[in-house]
Subunit: 342 residues, 2 copies
């Protein structure tokens, strides 16, 4: 293990960045100056920035630094896809305490680089600073979209169909599983967690993907959603965002919420309400979007997209229709200053 | 004092952002979506991102949250000016522990807003998350520059003149002063620190400005520097960056380094080497830049810019010429994982 102090800030920055090349034409200048220089000809520029904090967004007792780097990058990408854009550059800022070595930082950056390579994104900025208390990762993603194809949260219309990609709640159940195994294994050096048959839950929690494939599929079919948002804080929260910003209401059907069987099995084992996990779990990074009613047949035929309800007038409110037909008002999950799920 | 948990994440975000308007034509969509949407017609897009961490970059025992917000914003702007660009949008991400109230966050954002208003920058993103350990502020600034006027760190040429704006070392001496008064006053509730005659040092540390005026003045005189960098980590470090990235050497003269008399007085009182403070102090956020030798007379006549030396061939190395004529090789100040000055 190499102490960061032995290289110094500039030595470490070099070590982490000297091999990085850029390949997107929009990246005029990446790492190594006061700011990155980009050139987006005739396109809208998208910019999103997020923080990932140790103890809140990740726990290094069960996340490797490489996985953390991968997740930080894909979380940032998902914000750009949620605008119907394409991520092109990523800027990474880390605050790192003495606990971490040069090799730790290399592992974190290896994860970032792997994600960037996979998604065709250039690393255009690397900033390292010291921290007194653990690890902080700041990610800023820039991307592009055609001017008439940017999708906001605010353009959903009554009668629009509500669609969601993939399935929900698995990342949350993965977190519950990791937390349980951590609690069970505490103090037992020989303890080996039992994750057999639950790999999907772990993958969804530890190595989420951004839904590039969905954006490309929609573009291929010339579908431009009327509104879209990334599912970061849970389906209920995101539905409320769409409704509020579009000035509409919504109805979604419990029986239509896409849930993987591993999520269901795990919820059973934990004696947790499955719908609550899917509605409020968070960190799914799926895309929630609306399309005009006329696209009903088209959307229905697409694998990996589920119609879960429809937009209605604002006065009708935002409701989940339970399996027994009861209307349950949607509520954003509570948030306190130390209990933020995402 | 209002607990953040009583408003929740979305309530707090609303409280901090609902009054925010944007005014730059390049800001198509600011706060409230997955990403900001910008439109920079025929311009280069500049993006810079930085983290400010409690205990490393700021100490809330002597910085108010409003001042911190102001500083976070101007630090971000300074990176855009250092590319010869104009900052246009700012995205702010904060990680906040239970220790902080709604009013605290309002104070922080008031400082950010004040800086943005002063510099003509739109707030285009606000993200709040919880933190286990104090306050984390992430700032991302986007801006624009004409394509042929972006100034990199890498184009300094032998015989170019080295210029610096303002004066150096005052922010560092301000920090020393604050640290001393904190140590002296510890445990004494009735203690009133004595800052009379040292206001400039405090202002430089607590409320740094980005040098918009210098960039405008250079543009007004049609001067495009050959290279430029913001002085964040200290003059010596930044000179080494310019030299390395331009593949050149440099000579700067100790007697030419601009130093305010308050900085000099304070260094005397602290028995510190004044040149070391000015060369390595950091956080000055002045602009260090190079211009062709032919601009010698023009630059000499500009108030607030000092010629401190010249660029030479790489083989000659990077040196400070002391008052007694000795050549002292420049060295970047040491950096360890818990001793980062900026």
């Amino acid at each position: 293990m190499t102490e960061i102090a032995s290289l110094g800030k500039f030595g470490l920055t070099d070590r982490l960045t000297s091999h990085i090349k850029t390949s997107n034409p929009s990246t005029i200048r990446g790492i190594g100056d006061d700011a990155a220089v980009l050139e987006y000809k005739g396109k809208e520029v998208l910019v999103a920035s997020r923080l990932l904090l140790e103890g809140i967004h990740f726990d290094l007792t069960y996340v490797t630094l490489k996985l953390l780097g991968y997740k930080a990058a894909t979380v940032a990408f998902s914000n750009i896809y949620a605008m119907n854009g394409r991520p092109k550059q990523l800027l990474v800022s880390t605050g790192v305490s003495k606990r971490f070595s040069v090799e730790d930082m290399e592992a974190l950056h290896a994860g970032v680089e792997y994600a960037c390579e996979k998604y065709g994104v250039d690393i255009a900025g690397v900033n390292i600073t010291s921290s007194l208390t653990g690890l902080t990762v700041g990610v800023t993603c820039t991307g592009e979209a055609d001017k008439d194809k940017v999708v906001y949260r605010s353009q959903a219309k009554p009668s629009d169909l509500i669609c969601v990609s993939g399935d929900l709640g698995a990342a949350y159940m993965g977190l519950q599983l990791l937390e349980r195994e951590k609690a069970v294994g505490r103090g037992d050096a020989g303890f080996t967690p039992d994750f057999a048959g639950k790999e999907y839950l772990l993958e969804r929690q530890l190595r989420p993907e951004a839904r590039k494939d969905i954006i490309e599929m929609l573009a291929g079919r010339r579908i431009v959603p009327t509104s879209m948002i990334a599912v970061a804080d849970g389906l209920a929260s995101e539905l409320l965002h769409l409704c509020r910003q579009s000035g509409v209401g919504c109805i979604v059907y419990e029986e239509r919420i896409p849930i993987d069987y591993q999520t269901a099995t795990m919820a059973g084992q934990f004696n947790m309400n499955l719908t609550t996990a899917a509605m409020n779990g968070g960190e799914d990074y799926e895309l929630l979007f609306t399309v005009p009613l006329s696209l009903h047949e088209t959307i229905r035929e697409i694998d990996g997209i589920r119609l879960i309800g429809h937009i209605c007038e604002a006065e009708s409110g935002a409701h989940l229709v339970a399996r027994d037909g009861t209307y349950i008002p949607l509520a954003a999950q509570g948030w306190t200053a130390t209990e933020d799920p995402a």
